[in-house]
């Protein structure tokens, strides 16, 4: 038996080099000097949060701090100097990304004779030609992209200057949503970067910070979010504002779910749900409509001495509306029919039941404010325990255990998950060959992976809805394509730090040593070690006709499935 010290929250501080002197300096300046240490719990005191969940960064003029579209897990506080927020879009090349484009038919045809014969061969010119728009300094995870021509950016783009004492990046950090703007240093700037966990604690203990962040979210995002939800579309501007004001923000689970879920999956099946925080419990009064803002939640129902998974909810999905409507109808009062649990990390919006009843449903039960087509059918109590949830029909068509497998392994995160039906797959490897043929003779996935019954989920990038691989990329080389949304890597700006490969919970990113046309490794001038690049499936973004793997399968055995937005497509496919 091995005995170890139980891992603690701050075993891995954000910056191991953070000194007590630096913490003292921070605690002496506002807003930290105004925070009352007595309001913090003994387990997470203010000083420890500053010491372990923050780091100080020095930025030079033009250094890009965050890029529009990046996923981040931290917010920034300007200690000194100033930054500029670019309101409109900067060109992809400036941000260290590749310009999205499709190959023309001639270029596609040219692959017949242009495909390289060697493995991971690269054109050296792509690495040695400096970008006209930007450059990089530093190394490893501390590499920074900077703008070459700041005056040009200032003259051609709308910017807003933020001064010392202001926060930015907090909405994306707390909501795990893409950064909405690019921010760069305007002159020399000293910034405090606060990782998500610390920001969450500061927000919960410092009322002003909480109000400030919540207000920002209400102003910038919440109204749009609600307007995108069908049941709020009919609301007038004033009513919607009222709903916005009364909406409550809640967060469940762990932000770094990708680091721990594998351990949970490998554990005892019956106990897995114990680690998932309950958002709303079966049998309880529905005290509000729950809207998933980010992350995933499991819908389950009691079965025997455990719980059976019925479905999963993602960003934009709602929970509890059926029960609220049922009780508003005053036919049969019902409690919540299902339990909602956080899968990893979930950010939810809770619109209280009285608010829904007043603004969405209205006082007159015979003439509801909401279009009747959006009202769910009545829940019949005797059947409530076994049927009537909209997901029930879906559940009948997909095997319980298969759904459990997809949820447990977090494949529901994928928007292009590669599923292979082994009952039809002849193991001909045409998919692998097609992938190699479209990627310069380098296959970008493995026809291997976790399996449930006849279904295999291959090790191919799933182009996740919550792309944790994108968190922490120092150069922004891994990013979402601006037009189509695929997660792609710009080979020219990838520095081979492996942050993305280490973050990917599905082991779908591979680090490769690149070579020249003669097959020799391209070496780093300083260390004499091979240059390494991150590679993965790009869903054939620049090819005509979509993913070559799927089109190459002769037996319809392989499908790229959007499990996040369109799980129906999987059901349709497997029940062909």
């Amino acid at each position: 038996m091995e005995v170890i010290t139980r891992p603690q929250r701050w075993d891995n501080p954000f910056d191991p080099d953070m000194t007590n002197a630096a913490v003292d300096r921070l605690l002496a300046i506002p807003p930290f000097s105004r925070m009352d240490p007595a309001k913090f719990s003994p387990a997470a005191p203010l000083r420890s949060i500053i010491h372990n969940d923050t780091r100080i960064g020095q930025y030079q003029h033009g250094d890009i701090i965050v890029r529009e579209g990046d996923y981040g897990n931290s917010a920034f506080f300007i200690i000194s100097g100033a930054v500029r927020v670019v309101i409109d879009d900067l060109p992809a090349s400036v941000l260290g990304r590749r310009e999205p484009r499709h190959k023309s038919f001639v270029e596609v045809l040219a692959q017949v004779w242009n495909t390289r014969k060697g493995i991971e061969v690269r054109d050296l010119a792509a690495y040695t030609t400096p970008s006209p728009a930007g450059g990089s300094r530093g190394d490893g995870a501390r590499t920074r992209i900077f703008l070459q021509d700041v005056p040009a950016v200032l003259s051609e783009h709308k910017t807003v200057r933020l001064e010392a004492g202001e926060f930015f990046g907090e909405i994306a950090a707390l909501g795990r949503t893409p950064r909405t703007a690019t921010v760069f240093a305007d002159g020399e700037a000293e910034l405090l970067e606060i990782r998500w966990q610390g920001l969450r604690d500061l927000r919960s203990r410092v009322e002003e910070l909480k109000l400030y962040i919540d207000q920002l979210y209400r102003e910038r995002s919440l109204k749009v979010h609600l307007q995108e939800t069908p049941i709020f579309r009919h609301l007038s501007e004033e009513d919607l504002t009222e709903v916005v004001n009364q909406t409550v923000f809640e967060t469940y689970g762990h932000f770094d779910w990708h680091a721990s879920y594998k351990t949970i999956v490998e554990g005892r099946a019956a106990g897995r749900l114990d680690d998932e925080p309950i958002i709303a419990e079966e049998g309880h009064y529905p005290n509000g409509l729950i809207l998933i803002r980010s992350g995933f939640a499991r819908v389950s129902q009691r079965f025997g001495h455990g719980h059976r998974t019925l479905s999963y909810l993602g960003r934009g999905h709602a929970y509890g509306f059926d029960e609220i409507v049922q009780n508003w109808r005053q036919v049969n009062q019902v409690p919540l029919q299902y339990t909602l649990r956080a899968l990893g990390y979930v950010d939810v919006l809770l619109v209280p039941t009285p608010v829904i009843e007043r603004y969405v449903l209205g006082p007159d039960r015979d003439a509801p404010l909401i279009p009747r087509s959006l009202l769910p059918p009545p829940i019949t109590v005797p059947e409530a325990a076994t049927t009537s949830h909209p997901e029930q029909e879906r559940r009948r068509r997909i095997d319980d255990d298969f759904l459990e497998f997809l949820v447990e392994n977090r494949f529901i995160n994928g928007t292009a998950t590669m599923v292979i039906n082994l009952d039809r797959c002849t193991r001909c490897d045409d998919c692998v060959r097609a992938c190699a043929a479209t990627h310069d003779n380098n296959p970008r996935f493995l026809r291997h992976g976790p399996q449930f019954g006849p279904y295999l989920v291959a090790h191919a990038c799933m182009h996740c809805a919550d792309p944790v691989c994108m968190i922490g990329c120092p150069t922004g080389a891994i990013h979402r394509d601006a037009f189509q949304g695929q997660v792609v890597i710009n080979d020219a700006t990838c520095i081979g730090c492996a942050t993305c490969a280490n973050s990917c919970p599905y082991q779908n990113i591979r680090m490769v040593e690149v070579r020249n046309d003669h097959g020799a490794f391209i070496l780093d001038r300083t260390t004499n070690l091979p240059i390494v690049k991150a590679t993965k499936c790009d869903l054939c973004i620049d090819q005509m006709g979509g993913p070559a793997c799927q089109r190459a399968c002769p037996h319809d055995a392989l499908r790229r499935v959007d499990l996040h937005n369109d799980p129906e497509s999987l059901i349709t496919w497997i029940s062909r």
Binding site: L422, R424, T426, R447, G545, R551, C553, H555, A557, W573
Partner: protein, 280 residues
């Protein structure tokens, strides 16, 4: 997304209609016409169809071209291939050919069609078998996995000699297991789903139980697991090999068929126009 059943019945219906039209045309044409223009036209149509069918291999080599999906090509390949059987029968006037070239052509055609049908049957039956037994392994990795199993079993045998100080297991290994772990075994038995060799080997191991002490029994359990793993690997090898290798008959013979068919077409054109003046 249409279901496989609907797709299958639609394709069969189209095939049946086209076959019916072909047979109708054949039946309605006069014997004189049948022996002239009909054979010329049907022959070249058949040859063209075979060329298009053979282009599927080219499509597979160019997956980046937007030339329909491989699945659509395969559907066309299968049903157009079936249609070619009808066309072939009409072309040879539904009789056994007599000339040397014609007989060779017929034999080649039958091999191509036969291997195609066998391949289709294999691709529909074997994947399910591969899913239900043994681990999912890549065919190219099987030799390496086999070596790992052989090394593992040799390790157990060495432990039996050193730890249990007995040659019972070593003797059994030398007698029965060296060959078993060296190469793929029982290829045909696996294809007919026979488990007899596996049970026989495991039974022989069980018989040794009377000569073994407690330590050796534990090692024999490990060997039994390795035998099962190797047998499953052989099962995977046999089935995956069949799935891969039937194409080694289908594709080369298709090339020969196209070559001989082209020669046959030229000969017939020369005969038709030079010696009969194109009058039939």
């Amino acid at each position: 997304m249409i279901s496989f059943a609907v797709r299958r019945w639609t394709n069969l219906a189209v095939c049946t209609i086209l076959s019916g039209l072909g047979i109708l045309l054949y039946t309605l044409s006069s014997p004189a016409l049948r022996h002239s223009s009909f054979f010329i036209v049907s022959g070249w149509v058949l040859f063209g169809l075979l060329i298009v069918l053979a282009l599927y291999t080219v499509r597979k080599k160019l997956p980046f071209l937007p030339l329909f999906s491989s699945s659509q090509w395969l559907q066309f390949h299968v049903y157009a291939g079936l249609l070619s059987v009808v066309l072939f029968c009409l072309h040879i006037d539904v009789r056994v050919p007599s000339g040397g070239l014609e007989i060779a052509l017929t034999v080649l055609y039958l091999i191509v069609v036969g291997s195609g049908l066998v391949g289709l049957g294999l691709s529909r039956t074997i994947p399910g078998r591969l899913t239900t037994r043994g681990e999912q392994v890549l065919f190219e990795r099987i030799p390496a996995l086999r070596r790992q199993l052989r090394d593992a079993v040799e390790g157990v045998v060495r432990r039996a000699m050193t730890e249990a100080n007995s040659v019972t297991i070593a003797d059994f290994y030398a007698r029965r297991l060296v060959v078993f772990f060296a190469d793929p075994r029982h290829f045909w038995r696996h294809l007919v789903e026979s488990n007899r060799p596996r049970y026989r080997l495991l039974n022989e191991l069980v018989v040794l139980d009377r000569y073994a002490n407690t330590e050796e029994r534990k090692l024999m359990d490990e060997i039994a697991d390795l035998i099962r793993a190797k047998d499953d690997l052989d099962y995977q090898y046999a089935h995956q090999a069949v799935l891969k290798y039937w194409l080694f008959v289908h594709i080369p013979v298709t090339s020969s068929l196209l070559l001989v068919g082209f020669v046959h077409g030229l000969v017939m054109m020369v005969y038709y126009y030079a010696f009969r003046g194109g009058t039939g």
